[in-house]
Structures are given as structure tokens and as C-alpha cells.
């Protein structure tokens, strides 16, 4: 494994940084003074304005050790852990570039916000367990002086996964693995299900697995805001702009088998401002691709996938946006306060929302039914035809319900094996991925952020070993696939 050597630009930055490009923490009101000086010069010198000190406060800094493309929960988590695990205070300069500061299409804010440990891969279970303990102690991790404590609105009601006859054996072995890793999950027979949740119709259900602790759902906005606040207080720079270009250099090297490999290293990131042609080249040492549903575009900019298909150079990042709808309905006689997030055998899921008999849920469409991801318009017919019948079958009380509202969001869907991509690219030596989680990015964000930070700062995964999530598996064809019905 090639060790990542840290940055070259640390020392030079202090000498040739322009005033106004550094934001935050300046109590002398430098910006105010600059504008006063400009006014004075303007009044003294007649004619055209003399733009000796152009205002660049909206531009990102010219140098940054790490540039994180994407300011959602994964990008902010990586930024947080980089600053937390750096060995010297102020040792790493991190820049987060986010295209849309309203997060209107970002997967984080539109997420249902669930967390569960019912996976089949031990790495996924460990990531989720760590995230649960992170969320439980969130006010110790993300404490900012003088800021009020965060209230995640966590509902510890658990997940209930239902399995039909053909999936029952897989569920049993999964629960065994989950118990081994330390998740508190129990198996239930249809009789026990009817006993515990009398509103369920157990027709077609052979087995169910129920998470008792550390599972439930929470408010993803709160986590995002909390991370953003904390990360800003730790000195991370934010920039609203779009990454349009990577400037990189290549090196030809020979492997031990005398094969020619071209290794690339990104030197500059061009960040373009909104609604203008202005861009800033940011010199950087490491780039992190946490762009979610749009990660493939960023990877293509870096030249990943440009090559003959079937080779390592030709292996694209197989992450694409997939639209998923979430519907909110009201059902007065519906399941009570104890309702977990129920995932049916048909793929439909629902959970309670608040105290007032409101529920939200949806269903993952099959490959043929995949909606067009160019916009985030909700398809209500899908609910009427493909979601409601399954819900009404499973919970007879849902035969009468009224849809209140709905929204749609993107999954950063990994078409290869629906699990995340973490770690460096083998050829573009300083691009790290933290994307492709296909619907469980939010619940794995704290663990993945820590793993990427460890990889960058210490050269290998220290706490949770995510080697099976590296990019290489796309070229080698080794799928790290989940065996669950979720």
C-alpha cells in the first residue's frame, strides 16, 4: 500500500495568502477597514475606481491540504474526523466545497433518518453500532461553546424486518452474525409477532427479526447542522461553489510484473462560483469525493474510467442517482406508539411520525420500475398502485388512510453491489471516496468519516476495517454484497 505523504503547501500558504480569503475569527473587522480604505481612495482619486484590493471573500482559499467535494453528512463527517484526529492543532487545512447551500437536493436532508444494525456484512454492522454510540453521545462529540445542546429527536423503536419462506434461512444466519458483532437483535416467529404487534397480518411471513436497542430513527437535519457548527468551530473552511476541473500530473511507473501503470496526482481543484464564470484554483494535496448522487461526475473529471473497458483505467465509479419517494399519510386507527420501522417482505416500509397517527413510508421500486432521476417530482400513482396494496395487506388498519404529503430524494446508488465505496483510488493516487452507500449513508456517516480520516492521517484503517469497500473490487469483480431484504 502506497503511503499517503502529507502536504507540501503548509508553509507557503502563510506568505502569499491574499487578505480577504481567510474567513472567520478576525475580530479587528478587517473587511470593514478595507472597504473604508477603498472609499477613501475613491474619493481622492478621480476617474475610474482603482481596484487595488478586490473583494475575494466569497472565493475559497488558494491553498488547502484537503478539499472535500460535497458538504452533506458524509463530507462533514470526514471533515470532523480529520480535524479531530489531527496530531497537531491546526495541522490540517480542510476546505469543504458544497454546490447548493440550501441542500435542496442533498440526500441527507431528504432522508427518512433511520439507523439499524440488521445487515449481513460485519463491517456494516460495526459501522452502524459505532454511529449509534456517536449519536447517543452526540453532545460530547459535537459540543460547541455557548451553543445549546443538540436534540436529535431519536426514536429508539427499532426495526422489524419480515421475511418470507425463501428468505428465512438467510435472515437466521444474518441475525447470528449480527449477534456476534454485538447488535441486540432477536428472531420472532409469526405467533410471537401477532402477540407483540396485534395489528400485523402475518400472512406470508415465516420469520421476523426485531432490533431491540440502538435502532430507530432521528432527525438528519439536526445532525447536519450540528456537524456543520462543530466543524466550522474547528476551523474548516466552507465554500459555495462547484468543482469543474481537476489539474493533475501523471507519472508512468512499472509494476513488479513490468506492466506500465499511469499514476495521477491531483494538484489543483478549480472551484467555480454560482452564476458566474469566476473560478478559483485551489492547490491541494488530497481530494475527497463525498458528492453523493453526483460522485460519478466528480470521478469522471479526475479521469477515472477513461480508458479501455475491462482495465483498471477503464473502470468507472459505478455510483448513480436513483430517485426514491417517501409518502406521509394519516391513519387514525393505525398501529400504536410501540410501532417499529417495519420493512415488509415486499420491500414496502413504514414508520410512525410524531404523536398524531401520522405515518411515513415507501417502497424501493424494482429495476424495471426505476423512475427517471432527472428531477425530484413525486409519483403519486406509484403509491396508489405499488405501495398501498402491500401496506394494506400487512397492516389491515392501513386500508383507510389519507396521504398528506410526499417528497422524493436521491440514493447515491452503487450499481455494482449497493454498498459504499471508501478509500483511495488505485490510480488517481490522492482521491479518496466516501460515497455510494445506496440508502444507508446517513447511518454509517460517523464511522465512515472516521475510517477515511484514519486512512489519510495514519495510512490504514485503524478501528473498523473497511478494506472490502475499496475501489479495487470494481475492477476485480468481487462484490461486497448485502444479503438482506432491505
Amino acid at each position: 500500500m502506497i503511503r499517503r505523504v502529507l502536504p507540501h503547501g503548509l508553509g507557503r500558504g502563510l506568505l502569499i495568502r491574499r487578505p480577504g480569503t481567510r474567513r472567520g475569527g478576525f475580530s479587528l473587522d478587517w473587511d470593514g477597514k478595507v472597504s473604508e480604505i477603498k472609499k477613501k481612495i475613491k474619493s481622492i482619486l478621480p476617474g475610474t475606481s482603482c481596484d487595488l484590493l478586490p473583494d475575494t471573500s466569497h472565493l475559497p482559499p488558494e491553498h488547502s491540504d484537503v478539499v472535500i467535494v460535497g458538504g452533506g453528512v458524509l463530507g462533514l463527517s470526514v471533515a470532523y474526523w480529520l480535524k479531530k484526529l489531527e496530531s497537531r492543532r491546526g495541522g490540517i487545512r480542510v476546505l469543504v466545497v458544497e454546490r447548493d447551500h440550501t441542500y435542496s437536493q442533498a440526500s441527507t436532508g431528504l432522508s427518512v433518518g433511520g439507523i439499524c444494525q440488521q445487515f449481513s456484512l460485519p463491517e456494516n454492522i460495526q459501522l452502524s453500532l459505532f454511529s449509534a454510540s456517536f449519536l447517543r453521545n452526540i453532545n460530547e462529540y459535537l459540543a460547541v461553546t455557548n451553543a445549546p445542546p443538540l436534540d436529535l429527536q431519536f426514536n429508539p423503536s427499532g426495526y422489524l424486518l419480515l421475511a418470507s419462506e425463501k428468505d428465512a434461512a438467510a435472515m437466521e444466519s444474518n441475525v447470528k452474525v449480527q449477534k456476534q458483532e454485538g447488535a441486540k437483535v432477536c428472531l420472532m416467529s409469526p405467533d410471537q409477532l401477532r402477540n407483540k404487534f396485534p395489528w400485523i397480518n402475518t400472512e406470508g411471513v415465516a420469520l421476523a427479526s426485531y432490533g431491540m436497542e440502538n435502532e430507530g430513527w432521528f432527525d438528519p437535519w439536526c445532525l447536519l447542522q450540528g456537524l456543520r457548527q462543530k466543524v466550522e468551530s474547528m476551523g474548516v473552511f466552507f465554500c459555495q461553489g462547484e468543482v469543474t476541473r481537476f489539474v493533475s500530473s501523471s507519472q508512468r511507473m512499472l509494476t513488479t510484473d513490468d506492466e506500465m501503470v499511469i499514476l495521477k496526482r491531483i494538484h489543483e481543484v478549480h472551484v467555480k462560483m454560482d452564476h458566474s464564470l469566476e473560478y478559483q484554483p485551489v492547490e491541494c494535496a488530497i481530494v475527497i469525493n463525498a458528492a453523493g448522487a453526483w460522485s460519478a461526475q466528480i470521478a469522471a473529471l479526475a479521469g477515472i474510467g477513461k480508458g479501455p473497458p475491462g482495465t483498471l483505467q477503464g473502470t468507472k465509479l459505478p455510483v448513480e442517482p436513483r430517485k426514491r419517494d417517501v409518502y406521509v399519510w394519516h391513519c387514525p386507527q393505525g398501529p400504536g406508539l410501540e410501532t417499529p420501522l417495519v420493512a415488509d417482505t415486499s420491500g414496502a416500509y413504514f414508520r410512525r411520525e410524531g404523536l398524531g397517527s401520522n405515518y411515513l413510508g415507501g417502497r424501493s421500486p424494482t429495476e424495471e420500475e426505476e423512475p427517471d432521476p432527472t428531477n425530484l417530482e413525486v409519483d403519486h400513482d406509484f403509491f396508489q398502485e405499488k405501495v398501498w396494496p402491500h401496506l394494506a395487506l400487512r397492516v389491515p388498519a392501513f386500508e383507510t388512510l389519507k396521504v398528506q404529503t410526499a417528497w422524493a430524494g436521491y440514493y447515491d446508488y452503487n450499481t455494482f453491489d449497493q454498498n459504499g465505496v471508501v478509500g483511495p483510488h488505485p490510480l488517481v493516487v490522492n482521491m479518496y471516496f466516501a460515497t455510494g452507500f445506496s440508502g444507508h449513508g446517513l447511518q454509517q456517516a460517523p464511522g465512515v468519516g472516521r475510517a477515511v480520516a484514519e486512512m489519510i492521517l495514519q495510512g490504514s484503517f485503524q478501528t473498523i476495517d473497511l478494506s472490502s469497500f475499496l475501489f479495487n473490487r470494481f475492477y476485480l469483480g468481487e462484490k461486497t454484497q448485502e444479503n438482506t431484504t432491505m
Binding site: 447517543r136 429527536q153 389519507k402
Partner: protein, 235 residues
């Protein structure tokens, strides 16, 4: 006359205590079945005579009697289920360790700073019937989600006054099907106490849920309120 009555009463009380002893010797052996009748009578009258005449002897007998009684009480301390309390320094008596196999039935952790990790100790008590967590500052929804191992035995739970418990944590109490009394009064983090009370009562049908008057804060009936805010939304 008065003296004799006192003496008789003293003999009676001594006899009661003497029944619990097994053959102690010396000055304590008063009225035991071991000594033959004749000697018994002589000894008793001798000591009686001394006690009636000397205050010191009387005081000595009284002191020794008290000592014996306190020894017996100490041995039977936990027999009638009294509360084991810490002393003024907050320490528990070291004799507590002798009773490890005795099941703990009730724990009163009110005003205690117990937290999520601390509950590890309480969850081992498989026969716990009553748990009082009133006004515990660190007990929150995550802690409530840990209580399910006590489902078989727990009959009483009190969460009154816990500042961090909300209705989301109360939802995971449905595992505790043997619960007969639940106190959820005075929970500042619960957003709608009346509605929460109703939902918790529905969730735990065999349990008496105490603490909130469900009619408080209602303008319309609970069934009508949600329908007012419902509006049909279709594409």
C-alpha cells in the same frame, strides 16, 4: 411492691430474648432450660437480689442485654425486606456482600446520577420488581430502550421528573408487559402529556399509568383534532 413488679417485667423480657439464644454462659444464662430447677431458682434470686440492691449491677445487666439483642437484630437485618440504605458517608455496609444470592426486588435510584452505562448493573437483577428513577438527570430515551431485559419481573416503574425522558423513549416501554404501575408525571421533555398518556395506556393495557390527567390541554376531543389538520394532497 413497685420494685417487684418491675423485677417481674424484667424477667419476662429476659425470658423472651433468652429463647433465641443457644446456651451462652455466664451472666447471660438466665432461665435457660439447661440448668436444673433448684440451681435455677437459687441463681435467679441471687442475681435478682443483687440487682434490686445495686444500681451498678442493674445497669450492667441492662447493657449486656442490649448488646445481645442488637447482635440478634443484625443477623436478621434483611429478613423482613427493609430498605438497605447507605450511611451518612454514602457507603453501604460491608455485610451487604454476604447476601449476594438474595434477590433484589426493589431499587430506589431517585435523584441518582445513573447514566446509560450505569444501567449495566441494574439490568443484571433478574427479579427486580420495582424500579424508581425519579428525577434522575441523566436518564434519557436511550436508557429507556435498555430496560427490556427486566420485562419478566418488573411491575413498577417510576420516571417522574426526569428532565430528558420524552415520548419517544416511552414508546420502548412496551416490552415491559408485566408492568402494573407506571409513573410518568412531570416530564418536561414530553411535548403533549395528555396525548402521550393515552397512547401509553393503549400500549400497556394491563398497566396503571399515573401522572397525567389526559384531559388537560384539550380543546376538541382527541379523535377530532388530527382530522382538522388533514388535507387531501394529490398530484
Amino acid at each position: 411492691m413497685w420494685d417487684l413488679v418491675l423485677g417481674d417485667r424484667r424477667i419476662n423480657s429476659l425470658r423472651l430474648v433468652a429463647r433465641m439464644w443457644n446456651g451462652t454462659r455466664g451472666i447471660h444464662r438466665l432461665g435457660g432450660a439447661v440448668v436444673p430447677e433448684g440451681n435455677q431458682k437459687k441463681e435467679r434470686t441471687m442475681l435478682q437480689f443483687l440487682t434490686n440492691h445495686f444500681y451498678d449491677v442493674e445497669a450492667l445487666r441492662g447493657y449486656l442485654l442490649q448488646r445481645e439483642m442488637s447482635k440478634v437484630h443484625m443477623k436478621n437485618r434483611f429478613r423482613d425486606k427493609e430498605w438497605i440504605r447507605p450511611d451518612k458517608y454514602g457507603h453501604f455496609s460491608p455485610e451487604f456482600w454476604n447476601f449476594q444470592e438474595v434477590p433484589v426486588e426493589a431499587v430506589d435510584a431517585s435523584d441518582c446520577e445513573i447514566n446509560y452505562e450505569g444501567l449495566d448493573n441494574l439490568l443484571l437483577l433478574k427479579e427486580l420488581q420495582s424500579l424508581l428513577l425519579q428525577r434522575c438527570p441523566h436518564v434519557d430515551d436511550w436508557c429507556l430502550s435498555r430496560l427490556y431485559p427486566l420485562a419478566d419481573s418488573l411491575q413498577e416503574l417510576s420516571l417522574a421528573g426526569c428532565p430528558r425522558v420524552s415520548e419517544r423513549g416511552l414508546a420502548c416501554l412496551h416490552h415491559l408487559q408485566n408492568l402494573r404501575r407506571l409513573d410518568i408525571s412531570d416530564l418536561p421533555a414530553v411535548s403533549n402529556p395528555g396525548l402521550t398518556q393515552i397512547l401509553v395506556e393503549e400500549m400497556l393495557p394491563n398497566c396503571k399509568v399515573v401522572g397525567v390527567d389526559w384531559a388537560e390541554g384539550l380543546k376538541l376531543g382527541p379523535e377530532e383534532q388530527p382530522q382538522d389538520t388533514a388535507s387531501p394532497v394529490l398530484a
